[in-house]
C-alpha cells in the first residue's frame, strides 16, 4: 500500500542523513572538571573506611581492659611473716599478721590451736625423771 511505502521510505530517509548535534563549546571540559573535583573529594571518604575499623578495634580493646576482673578480695594485702614451727602463741600474737584471705586466716588459726593443744598435752604428761 502506498501509505506503507511512505512509512518505510521515511525510515530510509531518516537513516540516509544523520544530523550532527551542535554541542556547546566547553561542555566536555566542564564535565571533566566536575568529575575531577568529585574524584578529589572521594579519597577522603575512602580514608575513613580504613581508619574506622582500627578505631573501633582500639575502643573494644580499651573497654575490655577496663572491664577486666579485679584481683580477688582474699589475696593478702601485706606480706605475711613466715610462721616458724617452734613459735609460741605469744610470738604469733605479737607478729603483725593481717590476713585478708579468710582461708589463710582459718588455717593460721587451726595451726595455732593445734600447737596449743599439743603444748597442753605435753604439759599434762608426768615429767620424766621426777
Amino acid at each position: 500500500m502506498k501509505h506503507d511505502d511512505d512509512h518505510n521510505e521515511i525510515g530510509a530517509m531518516l537513516r540516509s542523513h544523520k544530523p550532527e548535534p551542535a554541542v556547546p563549546a566547553g561542555l566536555e571540559a566542564r564535565i571533566l572538571r566536575e568529575l575531577d573535583r568529585r574524584q578529589r573529594t572521594a579519597p577522603s571518604r575512602r580514608w575513613v573506611w580504613f581508619v574506622a575499623p582500627v578505631a573501633f578495634a582500639a575502643v573494644v580493646v580499651v573497654m575490655s581492659s577496663l572491664q577486666a576482673p579485679k584481683p580477688a578480695e582474699g589475696t593478702p594485702e601485706t606480706v605475711s611473716n613466715p610462721v616458724r614451727p617452734d613459735s609460741t602463741p605469744e610470738e604469733d600474737k605479737g607478729s603483725a599478721i593481717v590476713e585478708a584471705n579468710p582461708l589463710k586466716r582459718e588455717s593460721v588459726a587451726l595451726t595455732r590451736d593445734a600447737r596449743r593443744a599439743g603444748r597442753f598435752l605435753i604439759d599434762c604428761l608426768p615429767s620424766a625423771g621426777k
Partner: protein, 164 residues
C-alpha cells in the same frame, strides 16, 4: 575517555527529550557524574552507550518533574530551507513530534540501536516502541506531504461540464 567519546551523543539524546540546550547541558554533566558514581553497577558485557542513555533519560524525567519546563530552543529559523528532504524530515520530527516519539526515532535511526535496546532505554516493551516508531513515521509522512506541496503536487481538478 568516557566523556570524550560519548558526551556528544548523550547531549544530542537529551536534546530530543528536553528540547532545551541549557537543560540538556546540565543533564549531560549530571549523567556522567551519575555514571561515575554507579559504574560499579555497570555490566561490562553490555554496550556502554545504551546504559548512558538510560541514565540520561531517568535524570531528564526527574528534572522535568522538579521544575517547570522552559520554552523550547529553536535551532534554526523556520524560514531556513533544508538542503535535502532527509534534513527536512529531521527538522519536522524535532518540531512536531512529542519528546518520546522523537527520542525513539533518534535512538533507532540516528544511533542505529536495535528495537530491544531502544525499548530498554525508554523503559517500554519492544512492541510499544514499534508502535511509537510506526506512528512517528506516519505523522512525519503526513506532515511532509503537507509541508512540501511540490513533492506531492495536488490532484488536478475534475473537468467541469456534463457528458452528453
Amino acid at each position: 575517555m568516557l566523556v570524550k567519546r560519548y558526551h556528544v551523543q548523550v547531549f544530542a539524546f537529551l536534546m530530543t527529550l528536553t528540547k532545551h540546550r541549557q537543560d540538556a547541558e546540565d543533564l549531560t554533566q549530571e549523567t556522567f557524574l551519575r555514571a561515575w558514581d554507579k559504574f560499579h553497577r555497570y555490566d561490562p558485557s553490555l554496550p556502554l552507550l545504551p546504559w548512558l542513555f538510560t541514565l540520561a533519560r531517568r535524570l531528564s524525567i526527574a528534572a522535568l518533574r522538579r521544575k517547570k519546563p522552559l520554552p523550547e530552543d529553536i535551532y534554526e529559523s523556520p524560514s531556513s530551507e533544508p538542503t535535502n528532504a532527509a534534513r527536512h524530515l529531521w527538522e519536522l520530527a524535532r518540531r512536531e513530534l512529542p519528546p518520546e516519539s522523537y527520542s525513539a526515532l533518534w535512538l533507532h535511526y540516528r544511533e542505529e540501536l536495535p528495537l530491544k535496546e531502544v525499548a530498554t532505554i525508554l523503559g517500554k516493551r519492544e512492541g510499544a516502541v514499534k508502535v511509537i516508531l510506526h506512528r512517528a513515521r506516519k505523522a512525519l509522512a503526513e506532515r511532509a506531504r503537507v509541508s512540501s506541496p511540490l513533492a506531492h503536487p495536488p490532484p488536478l481538478p475534475e473537468p467541469q461540464g456534463t457528458m452528453p
